[in-house]
């Protein structure tokens, strides 16, 4: 294979006229981070509701939450994104549909919504597992001192469950970041899209994707590091001893 390596290309101006190729990749990384952050916040919120709902037995919302998880977990993310972006506006009343389509940054909102709701189903499963891992007596002890069920979740169950699932949550956060690349299919100029644009304009495919890979890697390392920090900050002395 004869390939002309040219790392200098990164500093050359892109034909889009906004700066160097490296700068366009940096712009892409910013969108990637924005989508990842938005989707992750949404995923945590949705996942918390789902995890709690599935842990309360025998009410109508438990089967509802189960249905949500099964649907969102089992449809490919790409399909979900297309459904939100192309199909959903058509199903809305006409004037709403128009308004949605004309939203500035519609791909951004759609990506956050689509990826967030999808990741929410996975976070919900993790949280449910975390809640189930707690001794049954914890809920009893919490309600025995007079806490209501919502208070028991807020002050006793969830603080423990979230601590237990921090490691899997880290990997779900990394998945969220990786999944943002799907947003290029609805026209969002995130990092992968920028790398592809660079390849098409410059024909330097290896440099383009190597640079993108390094940027993804740096981002994920930063997130992993931050989550470790959180883990050690919320660690409870002697908790390991209690596990029966």
């Amino acid at each position: 294979m004869s390939y002309n390596w040219n790392w200098g290309i990164l500093l050359e101006q892109s034909p889009e006229g906004i700066g160097s190729y490296l700068y366009t990749l940096w712009l892409g990384l910013q969108w990637t981070m924005l989508v990842a952050a938005g989707a992750w916040i949404l995923a945590l919120a949705v996942g918390s509701v789902l995890g709690v709902a599935r842990s309360l037995p025998g009410r109508w919302f438990s089967p509802l939450a189960t249905a949500y998880v099964e649907i969102f977990r089992n449809i490919p993310l790409l399909v979900q994104l297309f459904l939100w972006y192309f199909v959903m506006p058509e199903l809305l009343p006409r004037s709403w549909g128009l308004w949605v389509k004309q939203l500035p940054n519609a791909p951004l909102y759609t990506a956050i919504l689509g990826i967030g709701l999808y990741m929410g189903s996975r976070v919900g499963e993790q949280l449910r597992a975390g809640i189930q891992a707690l001794p049954r007596g914890q809920m009893m002890a919490a309600t025995a001192i007079g806490l209501t069920v919502p208070q028991a979740f807020r002050f006793v169950i969830l603080p423990q469950a979230y601590r237990i699932i921090l490691p899997p949550l880290t990997s779900e956060f990394l998945n969220t970041i990786k999944n943002t690349s799907v947003a290029l299919t609805i026209g969002l100029l995130e990092l992968t899209a920028r790398a592809r644009a660079m390849q098409e304009y410059s024909f330097q495919v290896f440099e383009a994707f190597t640079a993108a890979t390094v940027l993804y890697l740096l981002l994920n390392i930063a997130v992993t590091f931050a989550m470790r920090l959180i883990e050690s900050r919320v660690a409870v002395p002697g908790l390991g001893v209690l596990k029966k």
């Binding site: 002890a141 806490l147 423990q160």
Partner: protein, 242 residues
């Protein structure tokens, strides 16, 4: 104080409690014993509504559990409960364990709650451990904290479900001592335990359960002197021989 009136409970087809009737009056200490699986834990947990039951009714200080208008959390806040496995909240410091219910349920401010918590920790001899986490204490210490946590709520009655059976033998007495003192101060108590020494010392009555039934409900002297039922006699001879 507690009236248990013809209570029956099923898990599916399995009849865990069969027409249980008894009562605990103010200041009384009632010990509940019986073989494993006889329904002791289930019975004591129905008293503060931690377990539901299908038939009969229970009244605590005149409030009927089956009454739809009964505010269960409020009722539970007045009934202290101590569990076999302590069930302290492991993510909270000892003082926070003691303050949580006071602040969130009784609406006490932090200062008042802390004062109460400190006083009760002193009483169970653990003031030096106030700022530790439960996982840093021994089993006996954790159970004393659990008793203090229940007492923080100024309960009108205390329920104990085998409070010493998960402890190493050398820690049993430190917990029993706290309970004996509590009983002598006039606390109304319902205690599931096989510690017959404790029963002899402070119980007013002993209830013997077998297969979901209250087989014997007698004063302490009657129970230890001449248990009427054969099952209770067998049970007693078994646990008293060692």
């Amino acid at each position: 104080m507690i009236e248990i009136d013809n209570v029956s409970k099923w898990y599916g087809d399995f009849n865990v409690l069969k027409h249980c009737t008894t009562s605990v009056t103010k200041g009384e200490v009632v010990v509940v014993c019986g073989p494993s699986g006889s329904g002791k834990s289930t019975l004591i947990k129905t008293v503060n509504g931690l377990e539901e039951f299908q038939e009969g009714d229970i009244r605590v200080d005149g409030t009927a559990l089956k009454d739809k208008s009964t505010n269960l959390p409020k009722l539970r806040s007045r009934v202290g409960m101590v569990f076999q496995h302590f069930e302290l909240f492991p993510h909270l410091k000892i003082t926070e364990n003691l303050c949580l219910g006071q602040m969130k349920v009784l609406g006490r401010d932090r200062e008042t709650a802390m004062k109460k918590a400190t006083a009760l920790l002193e009483r169970v001899g653990l003031e030096a451990h106030a700022h530790k986490f439960p996982g840093q204490l021994s089993g006996g210490q954790q159970q004393r904290v659990a008793i203090a946590r229940a007492l923080c709520m100024d309960p009108i009655v205390m329920l104990f479900d085998e409070p010493t059976s998960a402890l190493d033998p050398e820690m049993v007495n430190e917990v029993l001592d706290v309970m004996v003192e509590l009983a002598r101060e006039g606390m109304t108590m319902m205690v599931v335990t096989h510690e017959m020494g404790f029963a002899r010392k402070v119980a007013n009555r002993v209830i013997f359960m077998d297969r979901g039934e209250i087989v014997e409900d007698a004063t302490k002297d009657d129970f230890f002197g001449k248990p009427r039922s054969e099952r209770a006699q067998q049970f007693l001879s078994k646990i008293l021989t060692h």
